[in-house]
């Protein structure tokens, strides 16, 4: 087990190293510099600015310095937001994204499970079809359609919620729904298919013949065994939340990390792009690693020595 985790961890570090290097090369290959302004600046000022941000040194030295700082968790200073450290920008904006992300993960798991259970219990009946139609619709309506739709119907027409911002607890409702719809659908389908299989297993028949009530069978026996695939879904869920948050934050005007990421790309703010890329990559890789570990821990049937663990 420890060997497996350390191997995965080593791969994570290699991937991260490749990503950082590739990002660094890509960004320096772009013509134009973040220091170029609309107004003409004198040559001396330009030189001083370059020296300040260390852009006058040869590329390989810049790369060395960046790597050295990175090992010390120093992501540098933003070139567009005056004198703000990149890690400060990230930690300030990430708290909004984090709250929204947690709300979304919890909502997806709970609602997804409920839909999936209903579908499995009433397999091939009305309720099954209904929840699966809801799931397919959730999967087909992308967040960039879902968010404006909710905004228009519930905030503009009915005025039940604020159109934008994130000031009170009620303001979380719309962004959370928009962010979760795809994951809800995915989890519901996952739970349904495993649960249908589990409900036909022998131990369920035993429970039934013991005279256990229907809801107890589902709750105590079937659900636990059906939760396994959802654990592996964690990595995908995180990726989905992060990708989605970029759009949701834009539509609902939330000052989260996703918004800064897009902004930094169009601003060509090198340190900020690098910083956020690395930050996102680390979060995603760690959640994928955790999902892998959790999967092995939760399901004793999986043996690591037998090659690759489920993707």
């Amino acid at each position: 087990m420890i060997r497996y985790i350390s191997k995965k961890f080593a791969f994570m570090i290699i991937s991260l190293f490749c990503l950082v290097t590739a990002t660094f090369i890509l960004m320096n290959a772009v013509p134009g510099s973040p220091l170029q302004k609309e107004k003409a600046t004198s040559e001396q000022i330009q030189k001083n600015l370059e020296a300040y941000y260390g852009l006058d040194k040869p590329l390989i030295t810049q790369y060395g310095i960046y790597m050295k700082n990175l090992v010390h968790f120093d992501l540098g200073i933003s070139m567009k937001k005056k004198f703000q450290a990149v890690d400060k920008i990230i930690s300030d904006s990430f708290k909004y994204s984090l709250k929204l992300g947690i709300a979304s993960v919890i909502t997806s798991v709970i609602v997804g499970c409920i839909l999936g259970i209903i579908a499995a219990m009433y397999h091939r009946k009305m309720l099954d079809n209904l929840s699966m139609i809801i799931a397919v619709i959730g999967l087909s309506i992308p967040s960039l359609v879902m968010a404006p739709m909710l905004q228009y119907l519930l905030a503009v027409k009915i005025r039940a919620f604020e159109v934008a911002g994130l000031n009170g607890p009620l303001d979380y409702v719309l962004p959370t729904i928009a962010l979760s719809s795809a994951s809800i659908a995915f989890i519901a389908r996952l739970i349904r298919s495993t649960m249908i299989e589990v409900l036909n297993a022998d131990f369920i028949k035993t429970a039934k013949s013991k005279g256990l009530a229907g809801h107890l069978i589902v709750w105590r026996h079937a659900l636990r065994n059906s939760m396994l695939p959802v654990v592996t879904f964690l990595g995908f869920l995180m990726a989905n939340v992060i990708t989605g948050s970029v759009i949701i934050e834009k539509i609902f005007a939330i000052p989260g990390l996703g918004k800064f990421f897009v902004q930094s790309v169009s601003d060509r703010d090198y340190p900020l792009i690098m910083g956020i890329t690395i930050f996102y990559a680390v979060i995603l890789m760690i959640s994928r690693l955790l999902a892998d570990i959790a999967y092995v821990l939760v399901d004793p049937r999986i043996r690591i020595s037998g090659g690759k663990v489920g993707k």
Partner: protein, 311 residues
Amino acid sequence: MQTETKTGALHPEMFKPTDRIPGNLEKIERNRLTAWQDIRLRLLSNKLAMTGLWIMVVVILFAVLAPLFSANNHFTNDLVNTNQAPSVKHWFGTDDLGRDLYVRTWKGAQVSLFVGVVAGLIDLFIGIIYGGIMGYYGGKVDEFMNRFAEILYAIPYLLVVILLLVVMEPSLLTIIVAMSITGWINMAWIVRGQIMQLKNQEYALASKALGAGPMRIIFRHLIPNAMGPILVTLTLTVPSAIFTEAFLSFLGLGVQSPVASWGTMINDGVKSMTLYPWRVFFPAFFLSLTMFAFNVFGDGLRDAFDPKLKS
């Protein structure tokens, strides 16, 4: 005496032994179906999947034909008639520059479908070659190629896309290239798994014994037999590519005006949603409809290929 059961009329005559004609004992009374006929039959009887297929056909037809047969075109500004509601002249209304939204919506469909199909085909091409070689040779080759894919896979997909867009000009080509960099890995793993299962089958061994080279065995014998899972993966790649294009265009990182794309149209429409809701409605509706169609068709195809679901 006849017994009526719930499953329809069962008559005792149905259970009479057939006449024993010598020489005819091995005859199979039921119509024999090849694997592909069976799959087609099951796909055709899946109503939801067929609905998806019909929607796909209609959207493709409109995307190709509608811009050709309309009196308007997608880039002419008409500053007198801006933000018009849907009417006889402009079926879907006009945008803030007076451009006809009916034509723009179908031009957007062209972009989305083009990106979806081309990205899907590139994934297919690279995935089959890479996965085929990986699966057939096994051992060290497999180990090495798999490590490379794993490292690439660990790098979050969205980050690669956005980083590449920093370097290259935002355009259709950039989007497709960016999506293909990591998109093929999933396909490669599917192909690898299939090839590993198939390579020890008798027909592959026979071909090897007759002196066929590895490439011939892989591409002439193994890949055609792995076509089922490959096709399913392909149909499910297309909607995710369509979504990514819309996502990037929505963020302003994709295709640029005056070229229409569903993503950019939604982005434009959201800004004035309270006043002119139709500007966001039509692109959003057709984007969702197309993704719905591809998703349900892909699901139906997967079910049709899965012999376990045969009833």
